[in-house]
């Protein structure tokens, strides 16, 4: 009797239908996103460096966000963008978003920024406090002129309004110590940061980076050399940053999803091995 009961158990946990496995993964990843669950996080140094850098920025200068992600890396880059903008708004730093990586990046950037403003519940007015400069084709000459003479390279915002009619851009000439822009944060799913290393690093302007998890290991040397003033690694980086500034958002819930999914895999692996052990015991019992 007992043997009959044990045999199916071993079979059941050893050969769960893959569709059930998939459905489980689907639900377990989706639930934290919908329910906005959160788990505590441990903050690593690179995001902390970025937050400290932003906290030390002067109030009267503009921050540039180079928003170069599109739908493909949305899950990793969008929460980074949102939480960084929230931090900027809290510090009352005005900012401009510019895209060089993908033609439809400005639209996604706009959505992320508007979401951040909504979350902060602060009247942060387009044109007065921030601007979206749209997509620019970043050839080498363009990058050079952008760093030296911003109005030369950027003539209008993404809706075609001339830059000199936009209050927040008034008087903004260039990067560098005597310039009007204090920092550039690249949020990217592609290799756009290389261009900024080449042209922006020499000006001494602070450079921050939010990139996908796959790209992060290559960026650590730049963190060491001080070319980067902080780094957000994928979803995890966004979540840690949310923790630092105390603003729970998508990153935190997505990391909860990640955690649960990882735990789910762990449980599946344990079940698989359990069935192996049970089967082994069963065979040994029969042999006796």
């Amino acid at each position: 009797m007992r043997g009959q009961r044990r045999l199916p158990l071993e079979q059941i946990i050893g050969r769960i239908d893959r569709r059930l496995v998939y459905a489980g993964l689907f639900l377990i990843t989706l639930a934290p996103l919908v329910g906005r669950w959160a788990l505590p996080l441990y903050v690593t140094p690179p995001p902390k460096m970025l937050a400290d850098t932003i906290n030390a920025l002067p109030q009267d200068k503009l921050v540039f966000i180079s928003s170069n992600w599109d739908a493909g890396t949305q899950a990793e880059n969008r929460p980074q963008m949102t939480v960084l903008v929230r931090h900027l708004i809290r510090r009352r730093l005005k900012f401009a978003s510019i895209s060089i990586g993908a033609p439809n990046a400005p639209q996604l950037a706009n959505a992320a920024i508007e979401q951040a403003i909504q979350l902060e519940k602060v009247p942060w007015v387009y044109g007065q406090d921030w601007v979206n400069l749209g997509y620019k084709l970043a050839t080498e000459p363009w990058l050079r002129s952008f760093v030296r003479q911003i109005p030369e390279a950027v003539k209008e915002d993404w809706k075609g309004t001339p830059v000199d009619q936009i209050p927040v851009m008034r008087g903004v000439q260039k990067f560098g110590p005597d310039g009007q822009a204090s920092m550039l944060i690249d949020i990217t799913g592609s290799a756009t940061i290389d261009g900024w290393y080449r042209y922006l690093s020499p000006t001494g302007v602070k450079l921050g980076l939010g990139c996908t998890a796959v790209m992060a290991p290559e960026q650590y040397p730049f963190l060491d050399s001080g070319q980067l003033s902080g780094l957000l690694t994928g979803m995890k980086g966004a979540a840690e940053y949310e923790q630092i500034i105390g603003a729970q958002g998508f990153g935190t819930t997505a990391m909860a999803g990640q955690s649960f999914a990882h735990l789910y895999i762990l449980i599946l692996i344990i079940l698989g091995n359990l069935s192996l052990v049970l089967g082994w015991l069963e065979r040994r019992r029969r042999r006796r």
């Binding site: 739908a71 990640q258 990882h262 692996i269 698989g272």
Partner: protein
């Protein structure tokens, strides 16, 4: 001599094509032995070019490798482009292959032939709109209407045209979805494969688990009681994963890489000197 205009240009084009065709026609009459030798010689010359380009020391000032007054470095650029272009011309062969298979499906009403129709429809629509969109830039002529290629800057983020609809709506999402299916497959592969059937499988599993846990907060919580700046900090799960990656994964990859590099080098030499006989085209040329 290499740049001509007007009538001379047309004459040169016609002449070059005619000359090449004539040469091929003459060669066509030649014996197998001649063709075979020619093929081997061309393979050798092709390889020799890049071999010399690599081994001839470049001038430290210009950084160009020069052989008997010829700049191999400059020539390499032309050869590279020509290879690219010749490769580009073969794309239609790929299209032929697909059209052949799906055309046969439709013609013979094989099971599932309606899907082949969907293939043709998608292929034609995308081809027409993609080329229509840029036709004017390439060849001049009337501009494509706005619904094909919307160049209004105000819409810069999302031009409202058919090409964008197909590309942003379908291609990009299909790509991303197929890529993300990996999440499911990595779970089912782990469930099925990570069983302690042998010592090796056990090692594989344990290390994979440690690395997985080292990435998420839930896993880090396991070892969070170890102070992060004491002598034991190396035992924290995230430090442990980092250590495995740098101290074991890196040398394994390097050692495998050396072998692979030498294997590729040997293969390159065998092809270059036509020693891989019978591998690709066995009997006759």
């Amino acid at each position: 001599m290499w740049t001509l205009t007007g009538f001379k240009f047309i004459l040169a084009i016609v002449g070059a094509v005619a000359g090449a065709v004539l040469l091929l026609a003459i060669l066509h009459q030649a014996s197998h032995q001649v063709k075979r030798t020619l093929t081997i010689a061309l393979t050798f010359i092709g390889g020799l070019f890049y071999f010399l380009e690599f081994f001839i020391p470049p001038d430290p000032k210009t950084e160009e490798a020069v052989l008997f007054g010829w700049s191999l470095t400059q020539a390499a650029e032309v050869v590279g482009n020509a290879t690219l272009v010749i490769g580009g011309f073969t794309f239609l062969l790929g299209v032929f292959s697909l059209v052949h298979i799906h055309g046969n499906n439709v013609r013979r009403r094989r099971p599932g032939w309606s899907y082949s129709l969907a293939f043709f429809a998608a292929f034609l629509v995308m081809t027409v709109f993609a080329f229509w969109k840029d036709w004017q830039t390439w060849f001049g002529g009337p501009a494509a209407p706005a619904w094909v290629n919307d160049q209004n800057l105000a819409h810069a983020a999302m031009p409202q045209d058919v090409y964008t609809l197909l590309f942003e709506g379908l291609v990009r999402n299909l790509d991303a979805t197929m890529f993300s299916i990996l999440a499911f497959y990595i779970v089912s592969a782990a469930y099925r494969a990570f069983r302690i059937r042998s010592g090796e499988a056990a090692v594989l599993m344990v290390v994979a688990l440690v690395l997985m846990m080292g990435q998420v907060p839930l896993g880090m919580a396991l070892t969070n009681w170890i102070p992060s700046d004491g002598p034991w900090s190396g035992l924290r799960i995230e430090s442990l994963s980092q250590y495995v990656l740098t101290a074991i994964n890196a040398p394994v990859q390097r050692a495998i890489g050396f072998g692979l590099g030498l294997g590729a080098l040997a293969m390159a030499m065998r092809i270059w000197l036509s020693l891989e006989r019978g591998t690709y085209f066995g009997q006759e040329v």
